[in-house]
């Protein structure tokens, strides 16, 4: 991939924040929607979470991000239990971008205003972010009038505005065409290279191959396999993974 400009302020070269889940469980009617004994994301990432529909991928992401409190189990970030301080260093991008009914720039400023930054610093940062997402000419446009790809790019920029150490993405490209998907994959890889841990849910095996350093396969709420992408795709260790990769796995 060609070299791309990087954002100045982001902590380049910083070691990736580790996140670890133990005994995570969300029950439902006697069964479990989520039942993750142990998942540790400590490598450089990006981590791809793969699995069929209804496997609990989004649920796992929401637990790691603290949007849903599990019935049991703990999430730790760099050894610390997930609390407000940890959550402030996380950000999440949703499948369908939720943009404020304001201008493109105001969507970014909404996040920046919550940080101790002066007016000029915020303005400079907005310009920097817009350039990073290819939205430089659209600062004053209504955010809700952006195309699908632009809207998701803005959602990612807004998530990055908080300079998160961990960025969760829940199928951010599932509704987009290949060109828009590629633009977003580039943004994600650039963020990863700047030191942000990427944890991304996808059901697109090709995307997991393109982006993933390590891959976790989720099935019926359980992590059936977690390993380096190269190894996992070349030699899956479990039957469930083999069937999923062959496209034969349904819930």
């Amino acid at each position: 991939m060609r070299e791309l400009p990087i954002l100045a302020e982001a902590g380049q070269g910083a070691s990736h924040a580790g996140i670890e889940a133990k005994g995570l469980r969300i029950g439902h009617n006697g069964g479990a929607l989520l039942d993750v004994a142990h998942l540790a994301l400590t490598g450089p990432g990006p981590t791809m979470i793969l699995g069929p529909n209804g496997a609990g991928k989004s649920l796992l992401l929401r637990c790691l991000h603290g949007l849903i409190a599990p019935d049991a189990g703990t999430v730790r970030q760099d050894g610390q239990k997930l609390g407000a301080a940890q959550r402030a260093r996380q950000a999440m991008v949703f499948q369908k971008p939720v943009l404020l009914r304001r201008s493109v720039a105001a969507n970014l400023d909404y996040v920046l205003r919550r940080r101790p930054l002066g007016r000029a610093a915020r303005k400079a940062r907005i310009a920097e972010l817009l350039a990073e997402g290819g939205l430089a000419g659209k600062a004053r446009q209504g955010a809700r009038s952006l195309s699908g790809g632009e809207a998701q790019r803005l959602a990612i920029l807004r998530a990055l505005a908080a300079e998160p150490r961990i960025l969760f993405l829940d199928e951010p490209t599932s509704a987009l065409d290949p060109a828009a998907t590629q633009a977003i994959e580039m943004m994600i890889l650039r963020a990863a290279r700047r030191g942000t841990r990427i944890v991304m849910v996808t059901h697109d095996i090709g995307q997991a191959r393109r982006l993933g350093h390590d891959v976790a396969i989720l099935h019926r709420g359980r992590v059936v396999e977690h390993g380096l992408a190269h190894d996992l795709f070349a030699a899956p260790q479990t039957d469930t993974t083999r069937r999923f990769l062959a496209g034969a796995l349904v819930i």
Binding site: V98, R144, S145
Partner: protein, 226 residues
């Protein structure tokens, strides 16, 4: 027609009083109704559902009943009789506030709740607390809220039953457009009634047009991906 164009001073005094009373009522009703509506939308407390049903029911409050209640409160022997507000513009403003507040509160509640359903997960992800999300929801629902205000104003300016009971339709003091139309029609002075009727319709049409223009504008710029 000549009454309107000729700048009949009595007629324009009536129009101005109408606008003064109804605008004041809408401002006060908004100050009460918007926070109330937002609290009902975002808060979670026992009895919330019942309150919402009650609020929606109050939107259809009969003006004559409101007039009667305000009359009883403000009359000499009533609990607020010492204020000596009966048969003043103040009494009319109070009556219209009672009528308009439920409309503004209910519409605010609806708009904030719809927006909250869309925003809440994203705002929580950004670390915005439930309480801190209220200004965001109000600002992003601004088109709907303006529509609520205009709907409230439309209700206030067109209302006759309550203001005639608590205002008394006293010449130069509490005579507004609607009460004058009722009086002049019964007296057979149709020219005055028609002139005021035309102005009232003009105001109503302007307000309605403003509402639909705003809604259409919101549709184009804000809500395309809603």
């Amino acid at each position: 027609m000549s009454l309107i164009l000729g700048g009949d001073s009595e007629l324009w005094a009536i129009v101005l009083l109408s606008l003064h009373v109804s605008l004041m009522a809408v401002v006060i009703a908004a100050a009460i109704g918007m926070p109330l509506g937002a609290a009902l939308a975002v808060g979670r407390f026992p009895g919330r559902r019942a309150l919402i049903v009650l609020l929606n029911a109050l939107m259809g409050l009969p003006p004559v009943v409101v007039g009667l209640m305000v009359y009883l409160m403000l009359s000499r022997s009533g609990p607020l009789g010492v204020l000596e507000l009966l048969y003043t513009p103040g009494a009319m403003i109070i009556a219209q506030v009672v009528l308009v507040t439920p409309i503004i509160a209910a519409l605010t509640r609806q708009s904030v709740e719809t927006l909250d359903a869309e925003y809440s997960e994203q705002l929580r992800s950004l670390g915005v607390s439930r309480l801190a999300s209220v200004p965001t929801l109000l600002w992003d629902g601004r088109v709907a809220l303006l529509t609520a205000l205009l709907a409230g104003f439309g209700r206030a300016i067109a209302e006759v039953g309550a203001v005639i009971m608590v205002g008394g339709n006293i010449n130069h003091v509490t005579r507004v457009m609607t009460t004058t139309i009722a009086l002049e029609t019964s007296k057979g002075n149709l020219a005055m009634a028609l002139a005021l009727g035309a102005i009232l319709i003009g105001i109503a049409v302007t307000v309605t047009a403003a509402v639909s223009l705003l809604a259409a504008r919101g549709e184009r710029t804000g809500l395309r991906h809603a």
